[in-house]
Amino acid sequence: MRMDFVEEIEAVIPSLRRYAHALVHDRAAAEDLVEDCLRRALARRAEWQPGAAVKTCMFRILLNRYRDRLRQAPVRPTLVDTPPPPRLADRLARRAAHPAVHDVQEAIARLPADQRVALLLVMLEGMSFDEAAALLSISRQALIARLARARAALARMTASPTPRQSIA
């Protein structure tokens, strides 16, 4: 039973890492977030109920820690939530490797945190709306509205630069 607990946790780590990296856009911070989450999950083994949804619990811990870190972070503009930019070298390397995708990644990093959190659960982790809504403690309707806003914002941010030229 106890081994099952650890094994179940281990099985969730790959998706937790994938999600954390996409969420915070900074390798070291993402790994710290995952480690923090893992430590907390392991510390709660005594409270563990067999059959509990390990993945949901771990994502919930991770999201709580993420929000916690957002609150701890220095004051930043409230209209656009902009995490620290990745190092220039990383960005150039990514652009070279994925010329067509870097724009999406950077646009997602610029989404407001609540939209980024929700969108990545669905787009990257393939969670159902029911799962994601439960995890975020919001209604399905609120989740769908949030996803729609996120997709609309992404479309604006990744659109061709023509509109900007027309303004000038």
Binding site: A43, V104, M123, A148
Partner: protein, 260 residues
């Protein structure tokens, strides 16, 4: 008359369609409408492109071997389950870590060094001192009783400069007796006292303007009185008392989550 133009597909419906969240019949009906709506088709294609872009970047991460820092944590949980469940005293765990520190440090790096947080921490010492003085007071261990938890929380919040309230430790078998505000190492401190059914007492001691400390409950021991302490934002928190380490660890875990 030609066929009237259809209403554009609502974005919410499109979102549900894209995530395969619609019942089969609704999905089929919507698919027909999307076929006749170039804007919807373009949006779906764009979302597919976005999803594929993110998958291209992040999917490989999930295929990587488990990084050593996590493997070490999992191994620790597998090989020392008894200590975690409270059969062994955490202090012996710390001694063991001190002996094995260099080896473990090489293996799991930063994680081990945090477990070896230098003692004696000021907050922990102050918590132990407060516990010795007040928890043993037969007549007036607390200023405000559990019946006045609202005023107690308001008082502590006002003096510490941030919202704080005694957490519910019922799941650790402890009921709130009450609390008070005390002088702490860096200003006002909150002292919340709890009691088990058989009369053992434990306290949470919270100080503010805390600049250093472990970010997870870490065992400490001061002159025979032990507990766990950690830092959360500008707060340092210590759980101290006479119940066994297993109970105190549970107290610390509950408070850790509640007082974040």
């Amino acid at each position: 008359m030609t066929t009237p133009p259809e209403e554009p597909v609502p974005k919410e419906s499109l979102i549900r369609f894209h995530a395969d969240d619609l019942p089969r019949a609704d999905r089929r009906a919507l698919a027909d409408r999307i076929d006749g709506d170039p804007a919807s088709r373009a949006a779906l294609a764009e979302w597919d492109r976005q999803d594929a872009a993110m998958a291209a970047i992040y999917a490989p991460l999930a295929e990587e071997a488990l990084p050593p820092r996590y493997a070490a944590l999992l191994d620790e949980a597998r090989t020392a389950p008894a200590a975690r469940r409270g059969a062994a005293r955490p202090r012996s765990g710390i001694l063991l870590l001190a002996v094995l520190g260099p080896v473990l440090g090489a293996l799991i790096g930063w994680g081990a060094s945090r477990a070896l947080w230098p003692a004696p921490p000021e907050t922990a010492a102050a918590a132990a001192q407060a516990f010795r003085i007040y928890a043993t007071d037969a007549t007036r261990p607390v200023e405000l009783s559990a019946a006045e938890v609202g005023p107690l929380a308001a008082w502590a919040s006002a003096r510490l400069g941030q919202a704080i309230a005694p957490p519910d430790l019922g799941r650790a078998g402890l009921a709130l007796l009450g609390g008070r505000v005390l002088p702490g190492p860096t200003g006002a401190a909150a002292f919340f006292l709890y009691q088990t059914a058989n009369g053992q007492r434990a306290a949470l001691y919270v100080t503010t303007r805390c600049t250093a400390g472990p970010d997870r409950p870490t065992a400490f021991d001061t002159a025979g009185l032990g507990g766990f302490w950690w830092r959360s934002h500008s707060l340092c928190i210590a759980a101290v008392g006479s119940p066994g380490d297993a109970t105190l660890h549970r107290v610390a875990t509950l408070a850790y989550d509640a007082l974040l």
